[in-house]
Amino acid sequence: MKRARKLGWSICLGLGLLFTVHRTAFAGNELQLLIDQTPENGVLQLEDRTYEGNVVITKPIRMVGSQHTIIQGEQAGNVIEIKAPEVVLEHVTVTHSGNDRNSGEEYAAIKLFEDRNVLRDITITDSFHGIYLSQSHENEISQIHVTGQAGEIASQGNGIHLYYSNNNQISENTIAGTRDGVFMDYSNGNTITDTQVKQTRYGLHFMYSNDNRLSNNQFSLNTAGAAVMFSYRNTLLENEFSLNQGSRSFGLMLQSSDDNWMKDNLFYQNLRGVYMDQSHNNRVEGNDLTQNDVGVELWGSSSGQVFIHNRFNRNIASVLTFGGRSNNEWHEHGRGNYWDHAPLLDLNQDQIGDAPMVYHSSIYTLVEDNELAYLFLKSPAIQIYEKINEILHREQVMLVDPYPLLVQSTQRVKPVSIPMVVSIASMVIVLFIAIQRRRRR
């Protein structure tokens, strides 16, 4: 009797397993079958439902989803592998890639191995890397929304990962909660625009990547905004690096990177706005450095930088230099930078201060000796500490700008909203009536 019962259970379990395996395999094959049946350069219109992955695209087709089209991976391997040029994939949600960090390959929701593909309007969740370009060039990637997995950031992959991939156009994406937002490794000539990255380790991470161009991107609430390492001739234009305030954070870090150009960027409320170490001949021009703990942190190993037309507003320490002063220039063609803390005389009214701006500080010794000094930069005591050291002549010259510019206000002030005015006015009226009644009593 017992044996018969056992046999019965075994059969049930076996059938159940068989049914499940068969169903998954069938569903996985369904999308692969549809892809295989689509002719070259044909269109595959996906329905408003969930398709099981993983799939491989090996010919140029256009695969279009609709509002609720989901391609769900097996949680092993890449969900979609594109191994053909000129594939167009748009309007789908891709989820459940493999997460195995011990495998020889790093998995992604979508992995590109060929050139000139288009990825547009794609949402990616619960995957190791979002999009991975492996030696894949001249692709157009836009409107990609990657959300990291819950939990520790360090154990996750990157939002968009480029590996030996050149001349790609990446635009209008949002990335949150991944390890790095956009990671480039040996990738040159790429353009990244209008992309928002938040709550990651590095919003942007360049390694050995040259001649890339970034404009109008926003990197906020990351452990660090952008880290440019061993990379040359990159252009960063009109980006926003804000609220990157961890214990070792920065808006933008240049490490062993030369000849880069940073123009018209906003560095707002970072622990360090711009940080440079072992980097040379970079040009920092027209940037707005506002309310950072340290505006610019320069290590003595960095030289030949040019800082011009930058606006330093309400930073706790505008500039800190360590390891001695190098030959960095704070002016060019008779024009320097805007400094909010320097009272300037401009008797000839040429909008340039009549005397050089010499910036002293004593905080650098604290920061140089012990990283915990960053914990106190927001403290009201730091100003007293600076004053005491000023009296005791323990401070050092951080920089000399011979042509400081007269401060120009750049704050964008929104027009006053009517509901707010009405609310405040009603509050004042209520308060006034209450006081009047009280007096009458």
Binding site: E152, I153, A154, Q199, R201, Q218, S220, L221, T223, E240, S242, L243, Q245, G246, S247, R248, S249, Y268, Q269, L366, D369, N370, E371, L372, A373, L375, F376, K378, S379, P380, A381, I382, I384, Y385, Q411, R412, V413, K414, S417, P419, M420, S423, I424, M427
Partner: protein, 265 residues
């Protein structure tokens, strides 16, 4: 409840409370207008950070003065003698008085900041969990400095003495303690980092700022150096709880003990 009603009547009839909250209201409205110039996604977060920085200066000052002077008033008007002779110990009087002062000042802050949040919601990217974290830090700072104020009110015998003590305490917490930490910094290493951490987070501003910054997502506890990891060895909320319990308990106990000694003399 009787104590709360009595306290409310006394405070609302005086000008001190209204002047203090008028100041808070004006500054926070100015900060609100300033925050509107920022990108909408982060403007509310930045408003909360700015409000916290305002609180760092104003709450200690306001709380120390309001709570210490209310106790001094009880002494001067002999109402304390009447209350205590009714078979009530000084400790129980102090606890009730503390509850009354705390509920009125905290209540006032809550009402004002909720009104401000309603105004902020119209033009900034309001986030309720961030606002709650900010309110928590406001309550914590109030609790601590009100209690320290009541301690000062207990031990001081003259108004001038009390004024000096309150100003010194404010200066000690806002400036001197950090200045002492700054001069100690070069001597901090892995061997004594735990002692430094405990003393650092016993400062109510440090504990509440860490809690607020981590709650707002500004300060990440990932990717810290080993020294920093040794500093932040507990969850920020526990540091805040630790400092609250320490200062409230110490102030209450010390006030009760010192007062007893003054009487015995």
């Amino acid at each position: 409840m009787t104590y709360v009603m009595k306290e409310w009547k006394e405070q609302s009839r005086g000008k001190g409370l209204w002047l203090a909250f008028g100041m808070i209201a004006v500054i926070s409205l100015l900060l609100l207008f300033q925050a509107r110039a920022l990108p909408t996604e982060h403007s509310f977060t930045m408003l909360l950070v700015s409000l916290f920085e305002m609180n760092m200066y104003l709450i200690p000052l306001i709380s120390l003065f309001i709570s210490s002077f209310t106790l001094m008033q009880e002494k001067e008007q002999k109402t304390m003698m009447i209350l205590i002779t009714r078979k009530e110990s000084y400790f129980s009087f102090l606890v009730k008085k503390s509850c009354a002062v705390q509920s009125i000042t905290i209540g006032m802050y809550m009402i004002w900041f909720i009104v401000l949040a309603i105004l902020a919601k119209q033009s900034l990217g309001f986030r309720s969990e961030h606002f709650l974290a900010f309110l928590t830090t406001t309550v914590v700072l109030n609790l601590i400095f009100n209690q320290i104020g009541l301690f000062l009110g207990s031990i001081c015998t003259h108004r001038m003495q009390l004024m000096g003590a309150a100003i010194f305490t404010w200066f000690l917490f806002v400036f001197l303690s950090d200045l002492a930490f700054l001069y100690w910094l070069p001597g901090v290493h892995h061997g004594n980092v735990r002692v430094f951490s405990i003393l650092f987070f016993l400062d109510p501003f440090h504990a509440s700022r860490l809690y607020l910054d981590t709650s707002l997502g500004l300060f990440s506890l990932e990717y810290m150096s080993r020294l920093m990891e040794a500093i932040v060895w507990m969850k920020p909320v526990y540091f805040m709880l630790m400092t609250t319990v320490f200062w409230v308990g110490l102030s209450l106990g010390a006030a009760s003990l010192c007062r007893g000694r003054v009487w015995s003399k």
